[in-house]
């Protein structure tokens, strides 16, 4: 089918890809080995810095009691709810802003201020308003993900090619038709990249919320660990959090690949 040169080219590309992957894994393993060695030779205080072995044994203990899955599930559950709500409300509000330029002009400074405001500052108020429970956590995560979702989707809406809108109008399309046949499908790509930001933002918000007020969840695990000075638990929590974040991100990436072909 192809020339030999082409096969060589493909082979070279695959080899490059392999080297990248290999180096990535190698660095990770090297990091853990180095860390463990430093701990073994007492060059770092494991009471403060923990060690890979202690971290993994903490995780195994959590696994044995079954607590591990409860904590992961609570965090994932809270993240998914605020992600879903953030995406839905973000799309809805962005649509309203696009539909009514007057509202978007009025809302502009408020959105800018809300966007730059560190949402964690609202934490104490949220706890008083929503109570010390899951509602506060979701509200916190929603605040963090919603504003950026609105801004991104709205930007994508108003950046639609003016000539295409002109074309729609020359075909006598009404506003709803312009939205549903042009503006929305045209923004799908940006919408999906917003989802990627949104899932990370939701997780940040949930952990922040769990730090402030919670009885379970990965954020609770980390916070509790630091309060009782069990650094093994803190490091184990962070490690699990990394895994959860990565898995959720790759899920969105997978959905993106399915949707955009």
């Amino acid at each position: 089918m192809f020339s030999e040169e082409h096969y060589l080219f493909i082979k070279k590309q695959r080899r490059n890809q392999f080297y990248v992957r290999f180096t990535q894994i190698f660095i990770l393993i090297l990091f853990f080995i180095l860390w463990q060695c430093l701990a073994n030779f007492h060059m770092i205080n494991t009471f403060i810095f923990s060690s890979p072995r202690q971290m993994f044994s903490t995780i195994i203990e959590l696994h044995k009691t079954g607590d591990l899955y409860q904590h992961i599930w609570v965090t994932v559950y809270e993240t998914l709810i605020s992600f879903g709500l953030g995406t839905f409300l973000g799309l809805l509000i962005a649509t309203i802003l696009w539909w009514f330029p007057f509202i978007s002009k009025v809302a502009d400074p408020y959105l800018t201020i809300l966007n730059s405001l560190p949402k964690v500052a609202l934490g104490p108020i949220i706890i008083i308003w929503c109570g010390a429970g899951i509602r506060s956590i979701i509200f916190m995560a929603l605040l963090i993900s919603l504003i950026i979702t609105i801004i991104n989707i709205y930007q994508s809406f108003i950046n639609t090619d003016k000539n295409k809108i002109k074309l729609m109008k020359s075909l006598k399309a009404n506003k709803w038709q312009v939205y549903i046949k042009l503006i929305f499908p045209n923004s799908i790509k940006d919408f999906i990249s917003t989802l990627k930001i949104n899932i990370s933002m939701s997780l940040i918000g949930v952990i922040m919320g769990e730090f402030l007020v919670s009885k379970e969840g990965i954020g609770y695990l980390i916070m509790y660990g630091s309060q009782v000075f069990n650094l093994n638990l803190v490091i184990a929590g962070i490690f699990i959090l990394c895994l959860v974040a990565a898995i959720m991100y790759y899920c969105i990436l997978y959905i993106e690949k399915k949707l955009i072909k």
């Binding site: 090619d161 295409k164 074309l167 020359s170 075909l171 006598k172 046949k181 042009l182 499908p185």
Partner: protein, 259 residues
């Protein structure tokens, strides 16, 4: 009112009457008169061109005729049941729709999408050399092909008068000649009337039977040229006619070009 209407349609062949059309634009600190006084009667099957210095308001006239912009004064009368189709400089094909779906856009919007009409669009695409691309996406097509698709999208709603706003200026020179030949053939075969706005004098002379020269802004009709070529055929062939360069020179002299 009645008498003026009767007057304007004294010639039954006229399908579009424009009478002292005026348009001004408003900005914060000025008012710009773009079109001052434009009148023309378009008869059935006629193909005319509007040329003029850049920024003289040529495109504005088409935008108003098509209903995209409001006129500031004057009268526009379109013969009953006659429809207007608009073709722009950019093909504006939607990248997320196939070629066929792009062409069906107008029918969808006007809730006129029937099986027969869909078949007609497919026939149009096949007739004009796009049969193999019906289910392709716009990014797989060349600029010239995309512009042909844009024309068929305009034709799909079956308009009687086509407004062409610099339809070829985004193309390179060779595809421009070829596509203008195609577009001319399609418009003549489908028996449409057309108004083309262009800054390319050769294009105007080779396509149209009348060339209207506009003055600088505020634009008024400066002169109307009847293009009579000894053996009129396709636009590319027309460029070889012996009168061609005479018209070119005459029109060139009328246009206020500033360097």
């Amino acid at each position: 009112m009645t008498s003026s209407l009767q007057l304007s349609f004294q010639s039954m062949n006229n399908i579009l009457e424009i009478k002292s059309l005026r348009k001004s634009y408003h900005t914060k600190d000025s008012e710009i008169l773009a079109v001052e006084d434009f009148s023309y009667s378009l008869s059935d099957g006629e193909f005319i061109a509007i040329v003029g210095p850049s920024g003289c308001g040529k495109s504005t006239i088409l935008s108003i005729l098509c209903g995209l912009e409001k006129k500031s004064g004057g009268e526009i009368t379109i013969k009953d049941n006659y429809k207007i189709g608009y073709m722009l400089q950019q093909d504006s094909l939607f990248p997320f729709r196939t070629i066929l779906d792009n062409c069906l856009l107008g029918l969808e919007i006007n809730h006129e999408l029937t099986k027969e009409k869909k078949k007609k669009v497919i026939d149009l695409l096949s007739t004009y050399g796009l049969k193999d691309f019906i289910n392709s996406y716009p990014d797989e097509l060349s600029g010239g092909m995309r512009q042909r698709v844009a024309l068929i999208r305009t034709l799909a709603t079956n308009p009687d008068i086509l407004l062409l706003d610099e339809p070829f200026s985004a193309l390179d020179y060779q595809s421009r000649l070829a596509v203008s030949d195609d577009v001319y053939r399609i418009i003549k075969q489908e028996k449409k009337s057309a108004i083309i706005v262009t800054h390319d004098l050769a294009e105007a002379i080779s396509l149209a039977s009348k060339v209207i020269v506009l003055s600088e802004r505020p634009s008024k009709i400066k002169k109307v040229f009847d293009i009579k070529l000894s053996n009129r055929s396709t636009p590319i062939e027309n460029r070889k006619a012996k009168e061609f360069s005479e018209y070119y020179d005459a029109i060139w002299k009328e246009i206020d070009f500033h360097v």
